[in-house]
């Protein structure tokens, strides 16, 4: 332990010479010159007379270490290290580096003496480079340098010409005169870099890009790089930012070159003092301190823009730029409230803004601005879940905005979507129709109109809208598909009405629109069904066979025939017998067939056809066989999802069991298995499965698998009274035991006479323990709901119209099974 704490020097002393030699070589090889110096100094101390090249190695270590320090701009330290070389190793290698470090560390007199002493040992190139540095110092009038130069030194030869050029340039003499002076400096002169730098400065006056190019030609180590940086900054596309990279002396000179006046220079100075990302107060103070130099209107805008983040600045802003208008004042309050996440307050302020603008609604800008504010309010209300009360605020704001600015297509569609989501179909269709009226040539609106018209069985109307889309956009596949569906739906309607000629016409129209038999034989099957209704058995057989062939797989053909026949009130079994389709249990099906069938099932479900369960059960055997071939998680999820939606519980259980073989205990598949096994009824779930489902829910929550969490929670909430928590991400999960206890109490209460029941209930509610989350009144009401169900919930809603918030998807989507 003591050994480990000893100094590196002590540890080195312990090493035998042989190991020290090896270590020294290794340190040199890894450029660890600092430690190499210690090793070789120790070796020479042990054996001063050794002739093993240790002195050369020590000299190398010293020189390279000095270069490392110079590389970090530690010129003075580098020079000191180099000065040790002659005494330690009897050598003075590379004196040009030493002289350069002296010059760069400002030790000019010492540098000139060293230059004189070592000049004979320097190469012509080394002398040339050093003289460029010394020339720059002579230009600045460094007396120590000038005095050290012999009268016949080459450095004196062009000094006058260089200084003449400097003076002529600085005194504003014409460019020609400056260039005449520069001509006296030859290309080999130590002042040649000065000639290049001054040429760049001159060029800046007429051609900044060329000036930057001239400055770039200077060597990176040239003493005139400071000037080159100034030239480049002044020539930059954004000099303001480029000036920030310069030091104050350079910036001062650049300011002159750019023609900045004293006030601008002061602004630049303060701007450089500001942090890269100043705070709101610092930014505000900067604007205010420099508002006289800044563009007045822009400064006012910038100050105003900072006020929501820095409200303390309002007094100064008002003093300097005048009082805010009522509109601006409310706008600022609204923005401040948004920053503070006080959205109700923000909505109030925005409302005032809109009202102020509407007061002068004759001004089209004001009308549009008010509409934009109302749309922003709608966004806030939607995002921040403020749609409480009878009329959702979002819809209300958007409707108001359209009265002020009826030309925003997206708002019509947004309103239609909101109504659709809320289950308000009438309003949904109306908004789409309004949009279609206002934007008769907009494909997106027309497609929405097709969908609503189809949903209302207004096929002619739907076909008209879709045809218009295809006129505007002939390759729109969605419009084509919708139009074919509309013709098919209309054809079925005509078949059912006995209008066979019209039905045929519709089927012809669908056939003309279809490309590459993309509907998989549906049109042909319907032609066959039409022929069957017309008592044309042979023609019916031909068309149906063609349709079934186009379906692509026997199981899909079976499904299509069943669904399409049922849609026109024909008995599929009769047709199957006639077509000799045989026993469905003997049909063959593989993965591809199953997935194609699943796509068809989903499409039928989307079209609103809900009687698929019986047909799927007929196909159970081949489908079961196909399910066993599935491997991929995506395939298994798609199949389970479709069977869950259909619903087809038996096959769902089979598919989920297969999925769990491949992906054990995956929560989503556990849910599908138990849902299928219980036939979608939570009360039929066995105790063991209930626990398994609870575990799956925990796993899904931990994995943030929101889809599975939602599905399981919805399953758990079956049979429970409408939950006041539905807007908070679903009802809290109630332990099964507690639910059973509540059910028992409820049943007992139902058995007693109403008067006694109320007394019993009051007594139970009086005994409720205090709750931190709800006030006593709300707690009593919630418990009453849990015990009495829907009736108590309605009472609560009647008493408190604002509580609980209305469910997001009102209407059909939220209907309970029971």
């Amino acid at each position: 332990m003591a050994k480990a704490q000893s100094s590196p020097r002590a540890r080195l002393d312990d090493l035998p010479t042989r190991e020290l030699i090896a270590r020294g070589s290794a340190l040199l090889a890894t450029h660890d010159y600092k430690d190499a110096i210690d090793v070789y100094k120790l070796l020479l101390k042990r054996e001063p007379q050794a002739e093993a090249g240790w002195r050369e190695s020590l000299a190398t270590a010293y020189l390279e270490r000095a270069r490392q320090l110079a590389g970090k701009a530690m010129y003075r330290e580098a020079a000191v290290l180099w000065e040790n070389l002659p005494s330690l190793c009897g050598q003075a290698p590379h004196p040009e580096g030493y002289i350069d470090w002296l010059l760069r560390s400002g030790q000019h007199a010492k540098a000139m003496r060293a230059y004189a002493a070592h000049a004979a040992a320097l190469s012509a190139a080394e002398i040339g480079e050093l003289e460029i540095e010394i020339a720059a110092l002579t230009l600045t009038g460094q007396k120590e340098v000038l005095q050290a130069l012999p009268p016949d030194a080459p450095l004196r030869q062009h000094l006058n010409a260089a200084q003449d050029a400097l003076r002529a340039y600085a005194q504003g003499e014409p460019e020609e005169q400056v260039r005449d002076a520069l001509k006296n400096i030859s290309f080999r002169s130590p002042y040649r870099d000065w000639r290049q730098a001054l040429s760049a400065l001159l060029k800046l006056e007429t051609d900044p890009t060329e000036a930057a190019a001239l400055a770039k030609r200077l060597s990176p180590t040239s003493p005139y790089q400071g000037l080159a940086e100034i030239v480049r900054a002044c020539a930059a596309a954004d000099p303001t930012r480029a000036l920030l990279t310069l030091d104050p002396i350079q910036r001062e000179l650049a300011g002159s070159l750019l023609g900045l006046d004293q006030r601008q220079m002061k602004l630049l100075k303060e701007w450089t003092r500001l942090n890269v990302h100043p705070g709101d107060k610092a930014s505000f103070d900067f604007i205010i301190a420099n508002q006289a130099t800044l563009n007045a209107e822009l400064a006012r805008h910038a100050s105003l823009a900072l006020l929501p983040a820095y409200p303390s600045g309002l007094k100064i802003h008002t003093r300097l730029f005048g009082p805010l208008s009522p509109f601006e004042s409310n706008r600022l309050q609204a923005l401040q409230a948004e920053r503070d996440h006080q959205y109700s307050r923000a909505l109030r302020s925005w409302r005032t803004c809109a009202e102020l603008l509407i007061q002068d609604a004759g001004n089209p800008d004001n009308r549009l601005a008010a509409a934009l504010i109302l749309r922003h309010m709608a966004e806030l209300a939607e995002q921040e879940d403020l749609d409480w009360g009878e009329t959702p605020k979002t819809r209300d704001y958007l409707e108001q905005s359209l009265r002020l600015d009826p030309d925003d297509r997206d708002i019509y569609l947004k309103l239609a979507k909101l109504c659709q989501d809320a289950g308000d179909d009438k309003e949904y269709h109306q908004w789409v129709e309004r949009a279609a009226k206002h934007f008769p040539n907009d494909p997106q609106v027309l497609l929405a109109a097709v969908e609503t018209a189809t949903a209302r069985n207004a096929y002619k109307k739907a076909a008209g809208f879709a045809a218009r889309v295809l006129e505007l956009d002939p390759i729109n596949p969605k419009a084509r598909a919708i139009l074919i569906s509309a013709h098919l739906a209309h054809a079925r309607k005509q078949i059912l009405a006995g209008k066979y000629a019209l039905a045929e016409k519709e089927l012809d129209s669908a056939g003309q629109l279809e490309r590459d038999k993309a509907r998989g034989g549906v049109i042909e099957i319907n032609r066959g069904l039409l022929a069957s209704r017309q008592d044309q058995p042979e023609r019916a057989r031909q068309w149906l066979r063609e349709g079934l062939r186009l379906a692509g797989s026997p199981v899909l053909a079976w499904l299509r025939l069943a669904v399409e026949a049922e849609r026109v009130d024909l008995e599929p079994s009769v047709l199957r017998r006639d077509l000799d389709l045989g026993d469905p249990r003997k049909l063959a099906a593989g993965r591809a067939d199953l997935l194609a069938l699943i796509r068809a099932v989903n499409a039928y479900h989307e079209e609103g056809f809900e009687y698929l369960d019986a047909t799927l059960r007929e196909l159970e055997r081949p489908l079961k066989h196909a399910i066993q071939q599935l491997e991929e998680e995506g395939d298994l999820v798609a199949v389970c999802e479709s069977l869950h939606q259909a619903p087809c519980h038996e096959l769902l259980e089979i598919a989920a069991a297969r999925a769990l073989e491949r992906y054990p205990e995956q929560p989503l598949f556990v849910y599908y298995l138990i849902y299928g096994r219980a036939e979608g009824d939570i009360d039929s779930v066995k105790d063991r499965d209930y626990e398994r489902l609870e575990n799956a829910l925990d796993q899904a929550v931990a994995a943030k698998d929101h889809r599975t969490v939602t599905a399981i929670n919805q399953f758990f909430s079956q049979g429970a009274p409408p939950s006041p928590f539905s807007r908070m991400g679903g009802p809290p999960q109630m332990p099964r035991e507690m639910r059973r206890e509540l059910d028992d109490i409820r049943r007992q209460l139902e058995r007693v006479p109403p008067a006694l029941r109320d007394q019993m209930l009051d007594a139970m509610l009086d005994d409720l323990p205090p709750d931190d989350d709800f006030p006593p009144k709300v707690q009593r009401a919630l418990m009453k709901i849990l015990l009495l169900g829907d009736e108590a919930f309605r009472d609560l809603l009647d008493e408190s119209p604002d509580f609980p918030p209305s469910p997001r998807g009102r209407g059909g989507r939220n209907k309970r099974r029971r």
Partner: protein, 101 residues
């Protein structure tokens, strides 16, 4: 976000045509293949203010802190260029030599 009007080099009361013209001019000067970042900034600025509706929305609802750099750049518009004095030149040349050799 930088002030979109400053990015495009137009006045705040510029109309649709002037803004589009300035946008196309900027895109010609800074095409995406040469300066993708600058192009993105120009594109974003154009999208923010290209129509009257966009400009009103920007003016009313914009919550970004002001573009101080743009503000300063506007105030530092170069004036009549002056040559530096002998003193300034010698001062810059007297600064320590730059960079390792």
């Amino acid at each position: 976000m930088p002030n979109p009007f400053a990015v495009l080099g137009v006045a705040e009361d510029a109309d649709d045509d002037a803004i589009k013209k300035a946008y196309l001019q900027q895109v010609r000067e800074h095409p995406p293949e040469r300066n993708p970042e600058r192009f993105q900034a120009i594109r974003a600025a154009y999208e923010a203010v290209k129509t009257r509706r966009d400009r009103l929305r920007h003016r009313i609802l914009q919550q970004e802190p002001p573009d101080l750099a743009g503000l300063v750049a506007t105030a530092l518009q170069p004036g009549a260029r002056r040559r530096p004095s002998e003193f300034q030149l010698r001062q810059v040349l007297s600064q320590p030599l730059i960079g390792p050799k």
